[in-house]
Symmetry: C2
Subunit: 158 residues, 2 copies
């Protein structure tokens, strides 16, 4: 009776169980919890870890996120130029990745970095250098321009 019962169940050896368990873990990678939009993109908020300043927001596809993880430097997808780019590839103002978090809905990334030089292509530390006045209409530039000019490409932060 006991032997018949045993025949009805497959008891895998330990090594096979371990394999299945590992596969399950890989299936639950954070990447699989992310929701890329219809263009395959997800917004990434970039925050300077040492100061808490929000430096910029840019878009990543899965490949640029994987490159960011693999290299430790932020890579994005340029919607205007339709190509992958590394932050600082022309300016030298790279971002060293310290931490990657993702939100409850899995549709936004928050990446902590240490920023070399200004993050903004217009020469400001942060792209958010303009603040709306209390009148809700006008605005004020609220920080110094560290580097004159910039790429002038209008594509954000090269």
């Amino acid at each position: 009776m006991q032997s018949r019962r045993r025949k009805n169940f497959f008891v895998p050896p330990k090594s096979a169980f371990w394999y299945v368990s590992t596969q399950h873990k890989l299936t639950m990678s954070f990447l699989d919890l992310l929701k890329f939009d219809s263009n395959g993109l997800i917004p990434a908020i970039i925050q300077e870890q040492s100061t808490g300043r929000v430096l910029m927001m840019a878009w990543m596809n899965r490949t640029s996120l994987e490159k960011t993880i693999a290299t430790g430097k932020t890579h994005f997808w340029s919607r205007s130029r339709q190509k992958l780019w590394m932050k600082g590839e022309t300016s030298g103002h790279v971002q060293h990745v310290k931490q990657i978090a993702f939100d409850c809905d899995g549709d936004t990334l928050l990446i902590q970095v240490e920023q070399v030089g200004p993050a903004c292509h217009e020469g400001y530390k942060s792209c958010f250098f303009r603040t709306v006045d209390p009148d809700g209409v006008n605005f004020t530039v609220t920080e110094p321009q560290l580097v004159r000019g910039g790429s002038g490409s209008g594509t954000g932060t090269l």
Copy 2:
């Protein structure tokens, strides 16, 4: 000769000049520098002013931004429900607006707030409560859940 020249130019009275000048100023409102996407939306990063924590990211259309400015409480556009909503309208976890900044490209907002209760509908202070492990695959919940459960709507942060 002099009088003929004068007839060729319209010299407005002071009051009219002031009117034109005011109109010009209104034309240069920060709202007109913003680039809403093809759906009329712009991403708004919400940061807690007192701690520097990034709490969430949500989408605004022009109406929700104007309501945010007028009321001093954040309003967003829900893409899933296709309606305007005020943060905390059901949970009471409202956000009091302290400052609004916008980026170099005019396509992202950064809003400083003071947050009542948790920002996340899952009961965490910030929606970014999960951090990717150093292996670049797994992740860890990095903060305590302040309130159990939540709306469970999966729509973000009501």
